[in-house]
Assembly symmetry: C4
Homo-oligomer: 248 residues x 4
């Protein structure tokens, strides 16, 4: 079995200079922004990525149909600009797997003409944040002015730090291939799914992309997500009570 398999559902006219990564992370900030953009820009799924470095499981959807865990590539077009998205719910189960998966992501990106990658994520600070900043890192110094002009901050750099997993390695391994990398991290408590942080991040990102995106549905989407979580909790509690009365 191959370490990583990429299955394209479309082969033509995929080329795009930009890849946006929004895999899961702190506060689901990156994922919220990427999913929002795909919705707003009418993204089309063009590839699925499977790997033996993902968890060995299938996900059962609401119809009872199983899906092998995978990450996905979407393609959007806006004002003549083509953008790819790397989204999904999975990271590697081992340290080595992170390297192997990220090299595959970069192989794919290079093949499709990507020259810049935006890695989106959250920056956990451990407390609620009134006006979340967008803290940043770049893999080439010449990218800094552009990031700052769009409202990104490098204030975090003073204390150094590391970026772990796919986001970090896309910048680190991308640099060796000459692919520009910008990591945008919305300041967030780290305790909850954080639409406010995602909203800030979207502002900086759309500025850098030079496209206008409606923010309304992101706020709405985040609220929906919070309500869905609340509903699941309530259902579990109700089930607990039911079982209690059943046993009783």
């Amino acid at each position: 079995m191959e370490h990583v398999t990429v299955s394209f559902s479309r082969e033509d006219n995929i080329d795009a200079p930009i890849l946006i990564e929004g895999l899961p992370g702190i506060g689901h900030v990156g994922k919220l922004v990427a999913d929002h953009l795909i919705d707003e820009l009418g993204g089309e799924k063009i590839a699925e990525i499977h790997s033996l470095h993902f968890p060995p499981q299938v996900v059962v959807d609401e119809q009872g149909v199983t899906h092998l865990v995978n990450n996905e590539i979407y393609r959007c077009e806006k004002d003549g600009k083509a953008i790819l998205f790397l989204v999904g719910d999975f990271q590697s189960t081992s340290p080595e797997g992170h390297y192997i998966l990220t090299e595959s992501y970069l192989d794919l990106a290079e093949d499709l003409g990507v020259r810049r990658i935006y890695a989106l994520g959250g920056y956990g600070v451990g407390h609620l944040v009134e006006s979340p900043r967008v803290l940043c890192a770049v893999n080439m110094e010449h990218l800094k002015p552009e990031v700052e002009a769009a409202g990104g901050s490098f204030e975090n750099a003073a204390t150094g730090g590391v970026i772990v997993g796919a986001s970090g390695l896309l910048l680190g391994l991308g640099e060796a291939r000459g692919i520009e990398g910008v990591c945008l991290m919305g300041e967030t408590s780290g305790y909850i799914v954080d639409p406010k942080s995602a909203d800030s991040l979207l502002g900086v990102l759309s500025g850098m992309l030079g496209i206008e995106v409606d923010h309304t549905s992101l706020q709405q989407r985040a609220e929906d997500m919070e309500q869905a979580i609340a509903a699941i909790r309530e259902a579990e509690e109700a089930k607990g009570r039911e079982e209690l009365s059943y046993i009783g």
Copy 2:
């Protein structure tokens, strides 16, 4: 050393359209059903599967003879229908190994003409169940009516969830090969070996297979197993008392 080795003890006339997987899992539900069917249908062992992804050990049988840990393929025939079984006591020791082993199971299945896989298991609910349902998942949506007609339920789908290990991957990786996959999970507490749940599961499975199977010995087998466990416990306690008196 190969990652996985399959040794056939019979080479001819093995072909069968159906594979039933009953590896160990919650409440031993899947294993109980598969072992029962092999007994009832007079199954013949046709292959042993060894792998460096299994635990590094041998099992000592009641004669003092060692057996390298392995899973096994049995073949049964009933009313002109040939059925294969994947049974044994082992799953992979690593996440990557689950993928590698399952691909081997599927290679073998494809070679033998398998077009549908039934993955059997338990569905732990954490409390005793009076009338255990058989909760289900499929890897292709068109399989649902058939499952429901046989008494399987998709009520679990509402809350999503994942299926981990060989059962899940047989459906997930099988789909990519065009092999139909049905996962049948007997509702069970998860605390005990659960023949009642296995009995429910056998009902749905035999309905889907279109064969009639006597249930008596399954119930008996489960009771034997419970008595054996009780006997072992008693022996251990007796031994404990003996040692106490020996030391004293």
Copy 3:
């Protein structure tokens, strides 16, 4: 780097029909017996085995000279009978590595004409044993009478069980190559280095080998080992007191 490297210091006239494995295990029983036999029979080291599946470290000897961790092959000759020994202090650091290492041991054994392997170990019972039995397992049923004639017992078989690591896999993987395997396990508490158990084991083993071996030095060796351990403990305690007074 190769997974396993075998470096021979002697190439000629190595062939031997018997391999005795005495790697570390419960109560150091197997290791005590193997080391004793090598001493008594005047064994010669003929090969070192290195592997990236061993712990990544060197051992510093009493001269301050480092030695890469390794297992070793010795060769003895007694009454015209040639015997190989697999000894050392290391097992694999991963489950897969156990399989890979054992296949290497068996490759080596086959190359040198080995037709039977004795895997030596302890059988932990959790309490002191007055007259330790030698509990046994074989990888081919026809070996049982010979083992029983030499005083080995199969009473443990009644409760089944597993044999983990190199000892188990030498029997399990050896069977597939047609190499006879006998596992001899001296009953032992599991808490201490156990020369009494080793003494029993040596009795059965020398009976099966058809050679006479002096037992005196084994008893002495075990006592030396216990005194050495006691000396180390005393030194540590003295050092503890010294540091205490230093700090005070």
Copy 4:
């Protein structure tokens, strides 16, 4: 992806007979000495080593620029003597990776003409040490007189012990290639970054290298490091107070 990648930024006139390893370890003793020597001797970075056996992350520098984790090779020249340094912040994430990385280090060393390796580290004793000794191990016995003449001690050898990771394997795997290996370990408590221990170690090492090195800046560097750590702690406490008042 390759397991290990070495990227040279300079190809000519690199040859050197000596390699000094100062990767992270107890009390940062080895790292302090290696970094000091590179500073004092005006070292030039000639290669970067990347590996999927390093942690999967990038480090963000004070400019907000990311750097893929790596170890580095520096080259210095003093009194016509060329010396290489292996430094950096990373060891392998797995046991097997230690072997694979060290073989790469040795491949590189052999290519550049290295005939002796000094592995630097700390020797944790669990208590503050007034006059830290430099405890030693060698991979060939003929090296001992030279080590002792420079003030190194083999008093630790009496109690044996192991050397884990890159330092140990450079000696162990180096021996098989005929490369001399000396491990110098500064006695240290193990609780703090320990410049006093590094100072002792530098004395022995410069004696063996036959070069004179100013010690002042090592002491200063260590003090700076301690002050930097204190400053970070103070900043964190201040931030804690700030957040407290913010929440309040």
